[in-house]
Symmetry: C2
Subunit: 475 residues, 2 copies
């Protein structure tokens, strides 16, 4: 492992490839009003939720309605050697959607049909533009649910492409564990299927897992089959405040080490509680908090909650405050998910740079506490939330885009944090992906040999480098 | 999906590449007595547990002691364009170890050190020659265990390479879900690491999952980091007999659809019960049986068992017979694992051809019952066992190698079974892999586009086609 160099948060050498008029003419004639070159549409598709966008937008946006249409666009793009960038709802965080080499944005948000609910098999197949909330609405009557919840109401295609996870992953796993099968348009415009609806398989290379997390660089995902789970018979949510972040983290570590199947265990620090209270009109104690949820039979939920309360009490935690009704639970988790917006509101005009390290659970206290100390010492405003049951947490450094030194400070803090996480055998990205912003960190984490292997795969499957080029690694 | 053509169970066009004397001389001088060209050693390394071996053995066997030594052998093999075939304990089932293009067998069974037990993180890192029983012995004092149990005391390297699973997968997942990180020697002899000890990551392509299940065709696995689990506070095992296979299967389907976290649920048919009773001196009722195990807190285990007993009773199942002591449990599962040997003993001189389909759980009854009817009608002796909670089951067709028509019948039955499984959205291989024997079936299942993508990846990462060539697909 080499020490990482600071990530630049900019595409280093932007090579805008030309998008020939002939291609644009063909696309417009084929897709009519579903091919837009309006600046406002292109700009909306040329950014994501990450802090800085200094790249020209894509030359056009095509709203595809079918796999066949995606294949047509990719085939044309391949003929003209023009990049294509798949777009869902634009909620990614690492610059994945920026047209750093120009090209065409393929918006799949209108491919939003739930294709097959197989309740008996606990699977569902959807088009890539279906969002997780839409999916859960569609399967509600079956008594099943889709647990992966990254906060944003992201699309299943986007969640697959970034290997997303979120608050429920501690119990239900990430997109890595929950995608069973995909349909993908490859760089040549061919449509392939990976995986089946069987729960397990040893039939050849795991192309499904290769596509999950490939960030649009190996193909456009046009269909996703994921696992569903029976809605728990009982759900309890609780909040517990602690005298220190350390006490909250040590409670989490013990919960995980004991194998308690907790469904969510989220940390927010005192400062973030203040922001959340102000934004969501809550009255949580302004101390470090664990937000927890337990799923199971009534007896099992009771048993889990009792054990966790004992652990928390031993480490100085206060009594649980229960969110007993579904409404109270929704309010609690909505507030948690809105921490980002609460933080942004707390410093008008600010932008947030979000970190995303994940470490083995035994290293979590070390990683988190040292990073909190550094952030506090820097004087920069920040929020702190974490899927701590997985060893994954996010600082959001709040900076004034007009003050370059704040950005430099944020970059330094993130650099120190990633370096620490890698030293502690962790990863630079728990769930946001690499995109533009973590390419150097990926190299430090995986080593040049493994990144070279990724590049080799990319070059073999996308010889003209048209699939979301310039992401994950330089080519 | 095209209708599969029968698999030949033979390497179709065996191209034995020459292994130059200069390479053998170099290997012998480097590895002395750890490089063997003795026929008996080569023959032992030129076969696996599959039924037919008609391929000449590898030219030499090198017993490697370290990653560095593996890298040296691969580097030399690369220079001479000679195949290398990794070897653990030889328990694979689809011809993975056969030297169909000649070459060198790299035996990693002496690389059997447990490198790091990280009990606090529920992870362990081992060399590839560590077997699953050895691993469980090594971690026993920590109160943790490694659940993946394919029956054979396979190595962790081999289990990773074939994406193995087995009886516990219904609750704990397969090697796909349980391998966190790998060290791999690539086709050029370079050593890379994939993954970290963090529980989740979105950092780049999922090379770990690409290597898991790649059957030695992309690299030699030289280190494996897997998840461990807390030993359940309570474990109960029970046997329940049913009036029909259908009743047993429908019970299983309901268990899974209700989301009961059963740890094992194994089907054996009446005929196999007879064989197992004779071989393991048991007195199980000679009816279709479900062998089950429940893990959890005492209350949770009790609750699971009660629910399952209710379901079974409704479908005509008899009262549970409990295996209450650890010894009784071990006896039960050993008997289950020995079903293969029990069956072989029941027909002296026979060989078994094992099927390995896996279907979505709602299709399990259809797939299984039609295939039982076909097997019964054929008159061929067989055994039937199944990890039915995952929709995965194995027929073992017992045939006299001297009677060609029996083999033809077995091939026809397997062909009909796979065709049925694929039509029911399943897979041709739940856990054994593709190897030599399922290449045609893989093509039917995945389609030519997906297999072409696998080939492209293989050619890019192994341009001289030296890593266990001739497996998974033809090149």
């Amino acid at each position: 492992m080499n020490a990482p160099t600071p990530s630049t948060h900019l595409a280093p050498a932007i090579l805008q490839r030309e998008v020939p008029d002939a291609l644009l003419t063909t696309l417009k004639s084929r897709f009519a009003e579903r091919c837009s070159t309006a600046l406002v549409v292109r700009e909306q598709h040329g950014r994501d939720e990450s802090a800085f966008t200094t790249v020209p937008p894509p030359a056009a946006v095509v709203y595809a309605l079918s796999t066949q249409e995606v294949a047509e666009v990719v085939t044309l793009a391949s003929q003209y050697r023009v990049p294509v960038i798949p777009f869902g709802v634009g909620s990614s965080l690492e610059g994945h959607l920026l047209a750093v080499q120009g090209g065409i944005s393929i918006d799949v948000s209108r491919m939003n049909q739930v294709l097959a609910i197989n309740a008996e098999d606990l699977t569902v197949t959807v088009q890539p533009g279906v969002t997780r909330k839409q999916l859960n609405g569609a399967v509600k009557s079956t008594g099943l649910f889709f647990p992966i919840d990254p906060g944003a109401d992201a699309t299943l295609g986007g969640m697959s492409a970034t290997r997303a996870s979120g608050t429920n992953a501690v119990r239900y796993g990430t997109m890595r564990e929950n995608v069973l099968a995909l349909e993908v348009v490859t760089a040549s415009g061919e449509v392939i299927r990976t995986g089946t609806r069987a729960k397990k398989s040893s039939a050849g290379y795991d192309l499904t897992r290769l596509m999950v997390g490939s960030e649009g660089t190996l193909g456009v995902i046009t269909e996703v089959t994921v696992k569903l789970y029976p809605l728990p018979e009982a759900i309890s949510a609780a909040v517990c405040s602690f005298p220190s972040i350390e006490a909250a983290v040590r409670t989490t570590i013990q919960i995980i080490q004991m194998g308690i199947p907790i469904a969510r265990v989220e940390l927010i620090d005192a400062n973030t509680v203040r922001m959340v209270n102000a934004h969501s009109k809550l009255t949580l104690r302004e101390e470090p908090q664990l937000l927890m949820e337990f799923h199971g039979s009534p007896a099992s939920v009771k048993e889990q909650a009792e054990t966790v309360q004992e652990i928390a009490a031993e480490l100085g935690g206060n009594a649980f405050e229960w969110a007993t009704t579904p409404e109270a639970r929704t309010r609690l988790w909505t507030a948690r998910h809105n921490a980002y917006f609460a933080a942004i509101q707390s410093k008008p005009g600010c932008r947030a740079i979000s970190t995303d390290t994940c470490v083995p659970i035994s290293r979590l206290a070390d990683c988190l506490l040292d990073s909190v100390a550094e952030a506090d010492a820097s004087g920069l405003a920040y929020f702190l939330v974490g899927h701590v049951g997985d060893g994954n947490f996010h600082f959001g450094y709040l900076l004034d885009p007009n003050i370059p030194s704040e950005r430099a400070t944020a970059e330094q803090l993130n650099h120190a944090l990633v370096t620490r996480a890698l030293r502690l055998e962790g990863t630079c990205s728990g769930e946001h992906g690499v995109g533009l912003h973590k390419m150097d960190f990926l190299l430090s984490e995986a080593g040049s040999g493994a990144v070279a292997m990724m590049r080799t795969i990319k070059q073999a499957l996308d010889p003209h480098n048209i699939m979301n080029p310039g992401k994950i690694f330089t080519l």
